[in-house]
Symmetry: C2
Subunit: 354 residues, 2 copies
């Protein structure tokens, strides 16, 4: 080991889903949207191509156009909105900003696998109460003293959503720490905690353009909360990188948010495909947890998930498999187009020999 390597930060990085690049592959492994972004995004890019002189300038470090568009969309004031480079950036800044207590923060044992990575990299103590037998969050586990709470709703990779009463119950029991509700998948059928914002100043809601808004490639996430939370996050953000949102991200995200009709149409279509796919999977011997997300979390009655995962991969169909306790017999299957899901069905019939 070289002398200076002793001072390297020790980390266990998050491992993102594979990004394979095959012709005709069916990519159902990273919960991307199967539909392209709004046509307004293409129009905006075309306009941008005639305005490249703007690239020579720094973007607005307050990202006002996007902050204002989101505030308008959600009926908030602009000082209630924070934006970042995907919800990962937003969550990372939230962890760094809010979780500086000696008490552990709490999040479920089975949830988005980045939470413990951030806790480790920033030296935040944490505890992971176990989901119950049916993979649901036990609210009582979040009643005790803590340095903060993070709940994904719907949870991932379980796909299960809890109702507003559940989130409010956790807020009622936690008046002394920040409660982060990660709503990356909320637009696919769950209730957002937005109506609770006026009542709980310690609630932070995080959402993203990567799933329901078909813009994973643009890296845009946002948080909504009390102005004091948003200010604290911005102060930390300005202490790390003042200008995170590049000029195209600002322009394209505003174009996307303004096309609400298209957004709703895509979400509805995905929900329809999800329900059809669930029935197909049941018929093929799978059990799916009840999903409010753009993916299904499924386990087969007789064939191991790992085997199905590998067999699908051989056929050019990529789903997500987690080699982790309790969920290592499940597959997380992103909802694609109807055509993609029919390909999945044919492959599964073939693999399962039905």
């Amino acid at each position: 080991m070289r002398a200076w390597e002793k001072n390297f930060r020790k980390v266990e990085p998050y491992i993102p889903g594979e990004q394979p690049q095959f012709e005709n592959m069916v990519k159902l492994n990273t919960n991307e949207n199967p539909y392209p972004p709004s046509a307004k995004v293409a129009k905006e890019l075309e306009e941008l191509s005639r305005q490249t002189e703007k690239f020579r300038l720094y973007p607005d470090f307050k990202s006002r156009v996007l902050v204002d568009a989101l505030a308008l969309h959600y009926g908030l004031s602009s000082d209630q909105v924070f934006v970042g480079v995907g919800s990962d950036d937003v969550l990372s800044v939230a962890f760094l900003t809010f979780f500086n207590s000696e008490k552990p923060i709490l999040f479920p044992d089975i949830t988005y696998s980045f939470y413990d990575v951030w806790a480790k990299v920033y030296g935040i103590p944490y505890k992971c109460p176990a989901l119950d037998e049916e993979f649901r969050i036990r609210r009582e586990d979040y009643y005790g003293e803590n340095g903060g709470i993070v709940i994904a709703n719907p949870n991932a990779p379980t796909s299960i959503a809890e109702g507003l009463d559940f989130i409010e119950d956790i807020l009622k029991h936690n008046r002394e720490s920040v409660v982060v509700v990660d709503e990356a998948y909320v637009d696919f059928g769950a209730a957002s905690a937005l109506p609770l914002l006026g009542k709980y100043e310690n609630l932070l809601i995080v959402q993203t353009f990567s799933k329901s808004r078909s813009m994973a490639g643009a890296r845009i996430g946002y948080a909504m909360g009390h102005p004091s939370l948003i200010k604290a996050m911005n102060d930390v953000k300005y202490s790390i990188n003042s200008y995170t949102m590049n000029y195209p991200a600002l322009r394209l995200s505003v174009a996307a948010i303004e096309d609400d009709a298209y957004f709703r149409e895509c979400c509805d279509r995905i929900i329809g495909t999800r329900e059809r796919t669930r029935k197909v999977l049941c018929r093929l011997g799978f059990t799916c947890l009840e999903s409010s997300a753009n993916f299904l979390f499924a386990t087969h009655g007789s064939v191991p998930a790992k085997k199905i995962f590998a067999a699908l991969k051989e056929r050019g169909i990529f789903v997500r498999y987690f080699e982790k306790p309790r969920i290592d017999n499940f597959l997380r299957i992103t909802i694609g187009t109807d055509e993609q899901m029919e390909k999945l069905e044919r492959a599964l019939v073939d693999i399962l020999g039905q």
Copy 2:
């Protein structure tokens, strides 16, 4: 104070230069390039506008197209290149990755004012040896024990560059910690430490697309160093945000890097304007430090900098003024187009009553 606010991270955020939005203003305050990016960038955007379906997918988290293009450009291998959201992101990751010693890191008292902000936010001990009377770095100050070294070359806001022998001397005296050379302004006339990379495994060079490549709005920075440094930075990066570089940034930066002729033409033009401007300023009673950057650091013989700063602002001309010890009688003036610098000259003649 609300209960949870006790756990907020305490920070003193970096304050970026103003981004005023006036018609016909002359913006010489944030060291942006006065020329638009390469025409290839416009062409790439137009193409992108016909491929918006790609936005629905996550970008390649390894940013391979850009890493490979930079490696090719600088004659390095791809495992020697790290990319991030502007050089601020790159430097922030470097601080977090390399500076985990109990010993203080070292950087000059007068330098890029983000260094101490990162040190504070990440809890890194630091010391700031004073520049000498002529605003030059004293190499002996960097010979002692330390947890790391950060040298901006050319330094900012002084604009002064040190030669390769100077950088190598610091490297020779520091075999046990990482030495970061921040070359944000290197393309305007300084020597890059690139030739030293093969010899010093603890050298990290940081550059940016924001100045010489006219793309501050795209947020692209990069670091070059030994594969073990780059891997350590990527591990930390993947522990914070796997996908930092959005799809347009990856595409547009590659287009820009490929147009080397245009890049060199812009740099040469800026250097020419800088030298003409320096003469003008001297004639008007200013003293300018010797600049190898795209800005001049100037002090007037009789009129206080603060007064000139305010008078220029009234006339729609924005330069940078730092209300800080030792440099509070200096102005940092970005080199714009010849036309902009003529406007500056006329305003200064007016203000100084000459």
